[in-house]
Symmetry: none
Subunit: 225 residues, 4 copies
């Protein structure tokens, strides 16, 4: 009986080691992508970085592209979780929490977010991965349904502008997307303060589309007169 349980244990342990290594492959790939650029990462390099043979990588992933997809899915799952927390908070009375959570998740490691964006473009040009990409899209769509519900609520409550609900979160997504790109764009001079900048942008993201804003533009508002 002890032998049985120990054999079970051993299997379990092996499984764990296997999964651990899978994670190490992904991590190594990630690091290489970030440090050397997508084009310069080869399966050989990944294997070498993990300290395993090239063939072993293929025990975990059917093709190189599957590694990329996996990185993307893992990342998207993380986003999904953060967003879910934010949505819950938003429904408990903090209207901006969803956008905030979303921004924080994506700007936590902007370099990673950016990598994922670019991986997606590469993969969209590749054949035979449509199904896995579809999985990614489905994940996003389920997020979207949640967001759509939340936005509708907030519009009803008068917190947000009365435009199609998805306008709000898509604008938010766009801003996050751009903020990430901004964080890495080498063209800008004045940037000794990216943290404050990101907060500034996050704030815009959290408040944009709020009902007060446009009134302000159109109508009397502003004691500016």
């Amino acid at each position: 009986m002890s032998s049985q349980s120990s054999s079970t244990d051993r299997i379990r342990e092996k499984k764990k080691l296997f999964l651990d290594r899978e994670q190490r492959i992904i991590d190594a790939a990630l690091e290489l992508f970030l440090s050397e650029g997508i084009d310069r990462v080869t399966v050989s390099k990944i294997a070498a970085a993990v300290g395993i043979g090239k063939g072993t990588v293929y025990k975990h992933f059917l093709t190189k592209n599957e590694i990329l997809i996996r990185i993307m899915l893992d990342y998207e799952h993380n986003i999904t979780n953060c967003l879910a927390v934010g949505i819950t908070k938003a429904q408990s009375g903090d209207p901006g929490a969803a956008a905030k959570g979303y921004f924080e998740a994506r700007l936590a490691r902007p370099e990673l977010d950016r990598l994922v964006q670019h991986l997606e473009v590469r993969l969209s040009e590749v054949e035979d991965i449509a199904p896995q990409l579809e999985q990614l899209h489905q994940l996003r769509r389920s997020n979207e349904d949640s967001l759509n519900g939340l936005m509708s609520e907030l519009i009803e409550k008068g917190v947000l502008e009365d435009v199609p609900p998805h306008f709000h979160y898509l604008a938010c997504w766009a801003l996050a997307q751009g903020a990430v790109e901004l964080a890495f764009n080498k063209s800008w001079n004045y940037r000794t303060d990216s943290k404050e900048l990101m907060e500034f942008i996050s704030n815009i993201g959290v408040t944009m589309g709020n009902r007060g804003q446009y009134h302000n533009v159109d109508g009397n508002k502003t004691g500016s007169k």
Copy 2:
């Protein structure tokens, strides 16, 4: 002398033809990138699309990457011009004109804007192009200086929030960047109305950071007076 001048003319004409062809190469490359995806465009295809030999392409560009850079530079020059017009308008009393011009320029052909974004990432991974990339960055920085001046003015006038001036245009840049990506992302469900959506986002871009906005949220305006 007439023979001399005619020879000069001939030289000039040749130069013109040469430059024309250069542009045709760039245009063809652009179309191919957009229609087939970056990875699937080869120098051969570009040459064939222009109707010239592969070797001839190399009379105009030292490497394939130089074509990419050139596409980016051309595009950035266009942006620069549009922005310059906007800045001029802004200084003549229409504070939102700069942001508006910028957004319009970038969203005019979002697919092109997006292409350029992705080309940039590819190229940033390549060695030996640093100088040309630097040229691109310098172009942007000169824009930036103009924008910085404009923003400072608008802040002084109380039109914009009193944050470091570059926060304003960088946020704007980020939103435009993200809006472009949004236009192409396949993950979103609710999108039968991308034109209105882009206007909505443009509006945010034009007004975000405006001084009224945040006060407005709190309650009655700025006791600033």
Copy 3:
């Protein structure tokens, strides 16, 4: 002593199990080769088909090629047996029995015969198997000696044409070889009747080289009476 004998029994039993498994490996390999094509059979697949581990296969066979050789040897042994029976019959007064037995053996499972032919070609290109191949050839040569003897007898008796004895059985071999290939060649149109066709060919095989044939063309028959 009883313990000893039981231990001997156990050893014997183990040996039997071991040999059984060896046969199962060969059988599985055979089935896979036939159903999937030589190129698509891997050692892994064979092991999986048998329900054992890949490593275990290597307890039985030093290399993958040894499995192939073994398939061929087994097959050749079977042919040998059938032929031996035929030869015996031939010597008991039925001159065609040897050829008949031979044809029947090879055409019994033409797909298998064909497989073996092709395996042989693969293996002849491989180094380090010369000895085993030699074994195969020796087996055939021993058959050949028997046949040679038989043919000589039949020639002496005037049943067969007076040509070098091996001409007869080699022609027979060739026809069988070709008939097998014929059964699998996809190029032929008129083939709703392969059974009759094979009989037709078998008949030719049995009678070809018979003395009567040519005489017959020239003039009067066999003094067989």
Copy 4:
């Protein structure tokens, strides 16, 4: 005008050189296949044997398999021609000419015939070449139609046994196929005389199925007396 014609000449010459090299590739591949065995021939080796770069091979053939197919088609075309000549002769009064021509064509370079047989088996296991293989099969089928016609005639004339016409040429094909294999099989002892042997077999091929043979077995025959 002379310049024009010279340019045309040059183009023609280039085309010729190109086709020449294509033939050299095929020839080199052929030699390598014959001398080293199918499995040991790589595209690199072929290119090296021709004295060109690996990439150049791919200017002529889309894939390695296309080289194989090409070898097969070239060979089959040759067979077709020889057969056509034989059929013509057969229709002019020499009934055995078709079979004779066919045998001679295939046994002229038995090692090549054998190679083609085996290439075909390899390729039939490969996907995505079905169309080209179909071309090969069509070539054979057109031959078959001619043969079918000829055999029908000969049967009508009483030269051949009255069995379905295709029995005759298929038996012939089978014997040729086997004869080729025989010529290369290393298992046989008594073979210092392969030329005579091949003639013996050819003779069988030419006469087998002839009407006299079976009658002969049954009974009276030939008014020869």
